[in-house]
């Protein structure tokens, strides 16, 4: 059974304090690793898809990386507007579902 685990569950940062979020996965035949941002009461908003180990993608203050067992979401010099829950999800060979982790709730204080 596919499993995705995120850590930490919650993270409090001061504005400008860089950090990383972790996503560990056990998936039979990974076809893609997704990162989403979710604001309270809203649906997940797509950030990145990573397809193979060693791949990196960047968007503003966010950078996602992928290894054979983990993915990291690095946040550089975060701002209060980066406060949200960050979800990672794995897409396997069956191709019909995303398996999500529990999410990391990020709070950035000014």
């Amino acid at each position: 059974e596919d499993q995705v685990t995120q850590s930490p569950e919650a993270l409090r940062l001061q504005e400008g304090e860089s950090s990383s979020l972790n996503c560990s996965y056990t998936v039979s035949g990974l076809r893609g690793l997704f990162w989403y941002r979710q604001d309270p009461g809203k649906g997940p908003e797509f950030l990145f898809t990573l397809y193979s180990a060693g791949e990196e993608k960047e968007k503003e203050r966010l950078k996602a990386t992928l290894t054979k067992k983990e993915s990291f979401l690095h946040i550089t010099a975060p701002k209060p507007e980066d406060s949200a829950t960050y979800l990672c999800a794995a897409y396997n060979n069956a191709g019909n579902m995303l398996t999500f982790g529990g999410g990391t709730r990020l709070m950035v204080k000014p």
Binding site: V4, Q6, R31, G32, F34, Y36, G41, K42, G43, P44, E45, F46, T49, L87, A89, Y91, A94, G95, N96, M97, L98, T99, F100, G101, G102, G103
Partner: protein, 113 residues
């Protein structure tokens, strides 16, 4: 272009009742998936439909059912509601089965009392 549209946005039901949630995918998207997100947890896969056929089902009881219409919109039905069914129900659309590009709607917040 309009995104994924879900209705209603909020709903309060009593235990034992039935509920129907609706989803309209992005134009050109033929696949619709449903997810349940309990407060504080990640979304859990319920169903995927593609070309009006069920292509995947998660670990949910038979009280949960869904269908997809010729215009690719979809309904999720839940019978005999339990308190534990209270959650945010998310619909995601993609171009086809096996397509990577999932776009989520804002969800329907269901509260069972």
């Amino acid at each position: 272009d309009a995104g994924v549209t879900q209705s209603p946005t909020h709903l309060i039901k009593t235990r034992g009742q039935h509920v129907t949630l609706r989803c309209s995918p992005i134009s050109g998207h033929k696949s619709v998936s449903w997810y349940q997100q309990v407060l504080g947890q990640g979304p859990q896969f319920i169903f995927q439909y593609y070309e009006k056929e069920e292509r995947g089902r998660g670990n949910f009881p038979d009280r949960f059912s869904a269908r997809q219409f010729p215009n690719y919109s979809s309904e999720l039905n839940v019978n005999a509601l339990l308190l534990g069914d209270s959650a945010l129900y998310l619909c995601a659309s993609s171009r086809g089965q096996g397509s990577y590009g999932y776009t989520f709607g804002s969800g329907t917040r269901l509260t069972v009392v």
